[in-house]
Symmetry: C2
Subunit: 342 residues, 2 copies
Amino acid sequence: MKNVTIKDIAKVAGVSYATVSRALSGSSEIGAETRERVLRICREMGYTTNYVARSMVMRRTKLIGLIVANIDNPFMSELAYHIEIRAREQGYNLMLCNSSHDLELERQVFTLLVGRQVDGIILVPANSDSYENLKPYISKVPTVFMSENLRDLPESYISVDNYRGTRMGTEYLHALGHRDILYFGRRKNSVTHQLRAEGYIDACRELNMEPGFCNSGFSFSSIQTGYQLARHLFQKPLRQSAIFAATDSLALGVMEAAEEAGIRIPEDLSLIGFDNIMYSGLPRINLTTVEQPKKTMASMAVDVLLEKIGDASSGYSHRILMPSLVERGTCRRVGAQAKSNE
Amino acid sequence: MKNVTIKDIAKVAGVSYATVSRALSGSSEIGAETRERVLRICREMGYTTNYVARSMVMRRTKLIGLIVANIDNPFMSELAYHIEIRAREQGYNLMLCNSSHDLELERQVFTLLVGRQVDGIILVPANSDSYENLKPYISKVPTVFMSENLRDLPESYISVDNYRGTRMGTEYLHALGHRDILYFGRRKNSVTHQLRAEGYIDACRELNMEPGFCNSGFSFSSIQTGYQLARHLFQKPLRQSAIFAATDSLALGVMEAAEEAGIRIPEDLSLIGFDNIMYSGLPRINLTTVEQPKKTMASMAVDVLLEKIGDASSGYSHRILMPSLVERGTCRRVGAQAKSNE
DNA sequence: CTGAAAGCGCTAACAG
DNA sequence: CTGTTAGCGCTTTCAG
């Protein structure tokens, strides 16, 4: 199991181990024949660089810490997939941690990652308190936030334009003839969610509709949450002809409850989500939704982070990407009179 | 950005830095008052252990490499989730890599992880050639394979009893009155898939049914693959009354194609899958399937790996877990005459 | 162009 | 109980 080191190969090559290091690093200050010979011996002896030792002296690890609330969540695992690939392209590897939506745990893994000497951290925060929660530690390592919008906080983040997203969705529903739309799953402790709600509200105002809400409090979005909430909601007949769910997961929960309550989608009720997770494109689900450009967000997060790693004195940047509407099968055109009937 | 080291705190505490190390490691050979004082100073100065340096001398990193074909796949991200949590409980962190179902890439990231000095590797292989592919490198680091069954190869793996799984499913379908079942998506380069096919075949034999196949060649399972294959299949009227899909993803593809072809599930066709990915429990999907106990598999993989790390001379172990049937809504009871009609 | 030597931050003998 | 010292494997001046 003993790995062959630079010294071992120096010995058989009959050179100093500094020379081996030079050959390996492609340094110019080394003779071509020596380089070839050393490299050949490396290959023959199956040498592999010890990155731990290298990191020690180079004072960088080429490691990025990735903290997600829950990798077993389609939105985050899709991000993680693209982040890993992009990072590796750039010579970085990923150290993955789940915060399990827990601020305490999030802080714990953050400091742990710092102790591991990661060169930077990409974070999909547990909630809007994450920034405050991590503030004392963030100065220790280049960090970029993802998905959660930090408004004008002095830290880099990548986010979609959530406000525009819900505006677009609301306008789409309006164009389809809906005049009474329920915003479902408004969440408290998330700026992202607040912005989504604001986009919806403003669109309603401009289109002369009355905003209406079904709040989810502090619980983060999941199919479960959506289901519970919707089940309660469907106990009384619903005035609205459409539901705008704050996330696709929530929308999926709505679907489940609707099924149970005998409410047909889209015949009786139109439904639109936000995120465009993979589930949503499934046959029978076919959820109309507002898409977040996850692959772009992922590469951008890596790029912004590497920039920051490269130049510690650089400032911070906020990148807001445009969402887009994905029309599928859960929204139905309703007549002008649909509003008064429903 | 300069981190405070053991030396810095030794200086202000007025002790040697070995003493600081002792205080930190909770060594017994140190005075209680000294320990307290040192620890207090550590806290005050915001000291954090440099794990890279520690790894260097301890010759272990407390890092586990996790290679999955594609983290953006519900089966694997669920495994990853549980693996990460279990590993962290045991003081290990995860280095995550995607092989993207590519043997060449898989080898690349494997050696990369070895160079990173991970203490062990958990691998969800790209296909059945992974073992051969990685053979020269596996000796360098404790490794456990997951999900793919290695038969009697001398390497540790965790797998579900795939043979029993399809047997169970087939018997279930038979008990529901089905007498002609199509096995869908039989794959070539995977022992796991071969075992699933065998379980189906043997069950058919014993129950006096004629096995029938729709093969997927070498392409790994995905909704796409299932859809393409099923679309082709549904061009001619189907003799069978039920389809056993080799994986849930494939089954989802079947659903999509069935929808398009106007075939109702389960009214016209019963469908059963394998894996029980999260998608399958979704409203409207509600896929009957054979479940793999993913959380158990994940903890077990970590435990087996740590055992191996702890005792390099220990042998290998094959752990085969029992699958279970999850009855949902895609299989329908058919009359005794259903067979002759369909 | 190549060798010698210092040192990254930490642990672990070995002395005292 | 505490200090001294020698590395872990590698990169990087600094001499030659």
